[in-house]
Amino acid sequence: MIPLSWYLFVAFILIGLGAYGMMVKRNLIRILIGAEIMGNGVNLALVAISIYSPVFTFVGQGLIILVISVAAAHTALAMVLMLMYNRRYDTVDLGTPISLEDDENV
């Protein structure tokens, strides 16, 4: 029998790793991967709590299905914005200095 705290501890470690990636990394793709790792941790915590709770069982599972669907949508939008950034500034690295003088849209 696995205690609920084990699942929550792994979920919080995943959230911490994702937060570390989002704070430290300069590459937009790695920041997106960090956000997805955080999302996985949140999903795991939500499913574990909903399974162990006698009341919110199907609420949690149904909610997770909708959350995973929306996660796919926001990842697609993030990729589009990343492609836009790359097309305009010719880099996906936030550490690379960009010149706003050459940008006609600013």
Binding site: I33, I51, I65, L66, S69, A73, T91, L94
Partner: protein
């Protein structure tokens, strides 16, 4: 299926062993996805991590969510990120990637460590057993109940999710097309109005003479202007016909 259940009942340590194994793999793969130098390998590690997170859902006896996790995260999101990386050639070159200074790395690690320890303290020492059932409720074959909960009882949530997905797709296409329309030149085809290289435009015929005025003399400009209307009117009528 029955043999697996009997195996789990006979060996209660087997479930905990599987949990520890999957947890170690997931944490290692998440770290590798963040720290690997090659960005394509990092995305692959993320896909494997998402697949192993589905193992947690199987241990929690939620097989439908495990399948959805594999289908969406491993099959959809990691493939989407890989295609995005392949569309950006500069992102594949690890030498162009800039890294944060060690000071910022230590600060980020400290903040995330504090977050993990506070959350872990809550997870370990909070009396969950008093608020929730200490034992797993009998949730075998719960796919029918989950689908009934979603589609019959709370179908509005599915419609809201479908609306969010549709909005995101339309927004993504609109953003890409908007940026493309800014850089796009005039469309010149073989047929239609666009096929005429210099379309008959009233504004252009009015604006053109003032640009030619400083080049010619006043008399030469006035002569076409007096004869102009008699010659231009038939042209416009022909053009209109």
């Amino acid at each position: 299926m029955m043999q697996a259940d009997v195996w789990l009942e006979l060996n209660p340590w087997f479930e905990q062993l599987m949990f520890i194994l999957i947890a170690g793999l997931v944490i290692f793969l998440a770290y590798a996805a963040l720290e690997h130098k090659r960005i394509v390998y990092a995305v692959f590690f993320f896909g494997f991590m998402a697949a192993f997170v589905a193992g947690f859902f199987l241990l929690l006896e939620a097989p439908f969510i495990a399948g959805m996790q594999i289908a969406v995260y491993t099959g959809g999101i990691s493939a989407l990120i890989i295609f995005g990386v392949l569309l950006i050639p500069r992102a594949q070159d690890s030498t162009l990637e800039s890294f944060a200074s060690p000071r910022y790395k230590r600060l980020g690690a400290l903040i995330s460590f504090v977050v993990v320890m506070l959350s872990g303290h809550l997870a370990v020492f909070f009396p969950w057993s008093e608020t929730f059932a200490s034992d797993l409720p009998p949730l075998e074959f719960n796919i029918e109940l989950v689908s009934q909960w979603i589609w019959s009882d709370h179908g509005i949530y599915v419609q809201m999710t479908a609306l969010i997905l549709l909005t995101s797709i339309v927004g993504a296409i609109a953003i890409l097309k908007m940026d493309k329309a800014e850089t796009m030149g005039p469309i010149i085809g073989e047929f239609g109005v666009e096929s005429v290289e210099e379309p008959i435009d009233d504004e252009a015929s009015v604006e053109e003479p003032p640009t030619e005025e400083p080049l010619d003399d006043e008399a030469s400009v006035e002569e076409p202007s007096t004869e102009g209307p008699s010659t231009e009117e038939p042209e416009e009528e022909v053009g209109n016909e």
